[in-house]
């Protein structure tokens, strides 16, 4: 099998995960996108393990470790999201701005649509 097939699929899957992390608003969906990115890396690791024929099987061992760390990460992440939901009544990461920069507290409502329109124009242009 050509090595380009799994590696290109992993790169595209990672980019889909990047889009999900940046574009989603619900924190649980952001965690799902992080899982997609971790799975893309897993696919890379398995492909390189099969390619290099490592006698230590480092790629597959590292894949198992990554899966374990991802399971621990999503458990802790969902606990934190639940805590945020209990404290704020919402799971939107856009509204979790308690640690944000308090400068210009009234302008974001005005210039966010303008920025979105400008970016939309740039994307269509």
């Amino acid at each position: 099998m050509h090595l380009a097939y799994p590696v290109v699929l992993a790169a595209l899957l990672f980019s889909v995960g990047v889009y999900g992390v940046l574009a989603r608003r619900n924190a649980v969906l952001v965690l799902m996108s992080v899982e997609l990115m971790l799975n893309a890396v897993n696919l890379d690791l398995v492909a390189f393990d099969a390619w290099l024929r490592d006698s230590l099987h480092a790629g597959q061992a590292l894949t198992l470790f990554t899966i374990t760390v991802a399971a621990a990460e999503i458990g802790l992440g969902l606990a934190i999201v639940l805590l945020l939901f209990r404290a704020r009544g919402t799971a939107d990461i856009d509204r979790a701005t308690a640690l944000g920069d308090p400068a210009e507290p009234h302008t974001p409502a005005e210039d966010e649509p303008v920025a979105a329109e400008a970016l939309k124009g740039r994307a269509t242009a």
């Binding site: 050509h2 097939y5 574009a23 969906l29 997609l36 099969a50 061992a61 894949t63 966010e112 979105a116």
Partner: protein
């Protein structure tokens, strides 16, 4: 003629002509089809407006990745993927969506306002990564041999060469488990307050305060009886309190 045949036999084992994008093998075709399904369901999963459907499309993407692992002869990892991701992570995500009161129908505010920035960043990352990777691995082929990732091979390498990371990871998993329990019991500080109040309120009925106040008036012999009477009651209330809490 004979020399040419031996040369052909010598070079035929490397098969330089058979390995090409124009003549894909059956494995590559299956990999490509499953990869398209995985990629499509991943895209739907990050773009759909229905939050629960996003989790279910994630199931399709992760299950397709398990098939890809099988095609890369990593059987054990494929089944671990099915067990851990399809079995526990997606269920955890669904519970997270349920406990944060995610709306069932279409939610128009599922995507934030910087969606177009995210799209530009993701397309730039995809373009850069795919260009780099195709250029780097243009002439690399995987010689897939059966049994490269079976449970016996993986177990032998894991417990022969990777024991220390394995044990460290088990400690990490335990710490994450305890941390998740501690975090999700976040309101635990409010629970002991009524229990302490209940013990304190129950004490004047048969405990030392009222007994000591009434003892000098009634009889001095009531003191040794009242103290053992009060002690089992407080211990019983203390032991029954965690049962109420749980």
């Amino acid at each position: 003629m004979n020399a040419a045949a031996t040369l052909l036999a010598a070079t035929g084992s490397l098969e330089p002509a058979a390995r090409s994008f124009l003549s894909p093998s059956g494995q590559e075709i299956v990999f490509l089809l499953v990869g398209i399904a995985v990629l499509g369901s991943a895209v739907v999963s990050v773009t759909t407006k229905q939050l629960v459907h996003a989790a279910l499309w994630l199931v399709v993407a992760l299950g397709g990745l398990a098939v890809e692992f099988l095609l890369l002869t990593a059987e054990f990892i494929a089944w671990v993927q099915v067990l851990i991701y399809l079995g526990s992570v997606v269920v955890l995500v669904l519970f997270g969506l349920m406990l944060t009161k995610a709306p069932i129908g279409r939610s128009p505010d599922a995507d934030s306002k910087n969606r177009w920035v995210a799209l530009v960043v993701a397309l730039a990352a995809a373009g850069t990564l795919v260009t780099l990777v195709v250029d780097a691995f243009r002439t690399s082929w995987i010689d897939l041999g059966a049994g490269g990732g079976s449970a016996s091979v993986t177990g032998a390498s894991l417990f022969r060469n990777w024991v220390l990371p394995f044990e460290a990871l088990s400690v990490l998993l335990l710490a994450a488990l305890v941390g998740a329990i501690v975090l999700s019991r976040g309101s635990g500080r409010r629970v002991p307050a009524p229990r302490a109040g209940k013990v304190r309120a129950g004490r004047p009925v048969g405990s030392n305060g009222t007994v000591a106040a009434t003892v000098p008036r009634t009889a001095p012999t009531a003191v040794p009886e009242a103290v053992p009477e009060a002690a089992p009651e407080t211990s019983a209330s203390q032991t029954s309190a965690p049962e109420e809490e749980s």
